[in-house]
Amino acid sequence: MKLALTGAQALIKSLEMQGVDVMFGLPGGAILPVYDPIIDSSIRHVLVRHEQGAGHMAEGYAMVTGRPGVAMVTSGPGATNIVTPLANAYMDSTPLIVISGQVATAAIGSDAFQECDITGVTMGITKHNWLIKDVDEIPRVVAAAFHVATSGRPGPVLIDLPKDISNATMDWYWPSSVDELDLPGYHPVTEGDPVLVGQAAELIAAAHRPVLYVGGGVLKARAAEALRALAERTGIPVVTTLMARGAFPDSHPQALGMPGMHGHYTAVTALQRSDLLINLGARFDDRVTGKISTFAPEAKVIHVDIDPAELGKVRKPDVGIAGDCRLVIQELLAAMDAREGAPVADLEHWWRQIREWQEQFPLHYEESEAAIKPQNVVERLRDAAPPGTVVVAGVGQHQMWASQYWNFEEPYTWVNSGGAGTMGFAVPAAIGAKVGRPDRTVWAIDGDGCFQMTAQELVTASSEQIPVKIAILNNAYLGMVRQWQEMFYEERYSEVYLSPDLPDYVKWAEAMGCVGIRAETPEDVGPAIEKANSVDDRPVVVDFRTDAFEKVFPMVPAGASNDDIVVHPEQSGRKVVQ
């Protein structure tokens, strides 16, 4: 029997068919018809205060659950406000489904009220997008959108839905297979070519200074277990990029930490001196490689990526394998079993070298009794947090300290904006993460500059009873910019000073229905954290007044070679043994 539905009802029903349990959004004129059936739907709708918040919440949700995040906005400014989250999700390969209202089809192109060509605007920052012009298309397009967003290299998609299409009626159906999605040009790869996998096994066996260079693709492929098996089978050291923190336990003896501009000295230098980079789901980002022409000059490269276009985009691999990291690692382990001889050479000399670097150049900051050190706040938050705590960061110094000083022991416990570097990501992403994993403690470690960009979403968190915890490392500056001006612009500070107490973060937190706490001296830090951890029925914001002069070390200056890594001034006299 045929079931007649409006386009709006068909859209919501399609989302239900996809197993969506929550969506984030804000209604408006063009999307009004779709907000009506939400009242009767099983899907929880979280009403945000700004559409950017909806997008980042959906991203945070997706990053901790592995399920696509869903956000819904109206046309025009509603849609343009979610452009930043789409760009962010595109850079970090996060599965995100955005549904935007559009003016009626007859009005498209007429500069109608709240009209914006959002499919045109987002063409370059979505994996794909659709403008629906026929109500019968709705179930098929929704199913196709979820398929595209979640398969292959995941990413954001957008569905633009004109108001007259939402109001039209159709006979309900649901596509029964991928073949019905009308995607003749979409064929994501999964398994690696066995010949290439065999060649990779040979390269690994011949290497003397190999490094597993692990990126976000390992997390997307749910390959953390497979990675651990490969690492332990071979004894090869592991570096985890900013997008891969948690893919390999930081406490593991083979973990060298994070590479890159603010990476651990040993991780940076091990890549640099390596004779074989085994890149699993990373993309030779410029923040990791430094000056590309001098990056890891003696290394051969095995590059595994589900996106074939990444192979050779930046660094030409000796063996490039297009495939899903989990499947390729499993194939690689099988190839190692099948071949004669040890899977790796004796790495003892390599490890001796690595241990020496670790001993000489651990992460370092100077402790103080007078000022709160931001690194110390991260360490103490970490030590007081229950296992499995999800950590969320914005972008800047606080993000680097969070990545450096937290110990990530399991996958999907680190949420941050990597490729796009979106300030203001933390608060809404933390809310989305908490919605996705209500069983976990969620700590956002944020900067004062970032916090001011999206703090209004704490109103959403309070009214929806989403008890996230926000630690503001408040140094009264746009700290990372300040650091660059200090180091590279002769301390000429231009437009980076904010103010420690304008706004008053405690009052602001309280005005948004949160608990507000302030820590002004090192003695305040412990009690503030304790109090924050005792709150579990509402959001809590802690204003840590941190030392404004603190800089992130190590640092590879932008455009410089990784050989020219700048260590903490305390360590700069130390001999580099090579």
């Binding site: 499919t119 045109g120 994996k127 595209v148 040009g185």
Partner: protein
């Protein structure tokens, strides 16, 4: 994408190269024959990808295919100095509406292009131009009191040659289509 063919002008960099080596694409160019779904916005997706990634298009021609009404063929001449060809192909392949990509090296392809030219002609030049068009196997397609519009289709080098010879006259307007290409057939 409209049913009618479209043509895009060569970017500035490609034009400079072209001045040195004739209007026709040189050895640093490759032809991509891209089958795409015949859907709204597809040409914008392809063109947008090229501009976003910093790849240069030398010329581009697009029209529906005969084989399947749902598909169109975009023939793109790529300036491979701007990016490695492999990278261009792999990025193109990621576009969901791109169904398949064929790469044609100039040696393995038959290429054709069409040009329309309006020439200002006095009484003496009129006959000369008509003769020249005849020699090249072109056609006079429109006749005015003091102008002729002529058409020539053929290999891009032939068009270059024709265009060069027309330079001694006053060319009022000239429009080339950009090339289309298919693989050369093998003979056994």
């Amino acid at each position: 994408m409209a049913a009618a063919g479209a043509a895009a002008a060569a970017p500035r960099g490609a034009q400079l190269t072209a001045l040195a080596g004739g209007r026709s694409a040189g050895p640093r160019h490759h032809i991509l024959s891209v089958l795409v779904e015949n859907k709204a916005g597809v040409l914008a997706r392809v063109a947008g990808l090229f501009s976003r990634r910093g790849f240069n298009i030398y010329s581009l021609a697009v029209a529906p295919t005969d084989e399947d009404e749902h598909l169109s063929r975009i023939t793109i001449v790529v300036d491979v100095e701007s990016a490695p060809l492999e990278q261009v192909i792999m990025q193109l392949d990621k576009l969901v509406n791109v169904v398949s990509i064929g790469e044609l090296s100039p040696a393995e392809a038959v290429e054709r292009e069409l040009v329309l030219v309006t020439v200002a002609v006095g009484p003496t030049e009129r006959q000369q131009v008509i003769q020249l068009v005849g020699v090249f196997g072109g056609e006079v397609v429109s006749v005015g009191a003091d102008r002729l519009t002529v058409m020539l289709a053929g290999r891009p080098e032939k068009i270059d040659d024709f265009e060069g010879l027309l330079e001694q006259y006053t060319v009022v307007e000239l429009q080339r289509t950009g090339r289309v290409a298919l693989p050369k057939l093998e003979r056994h």
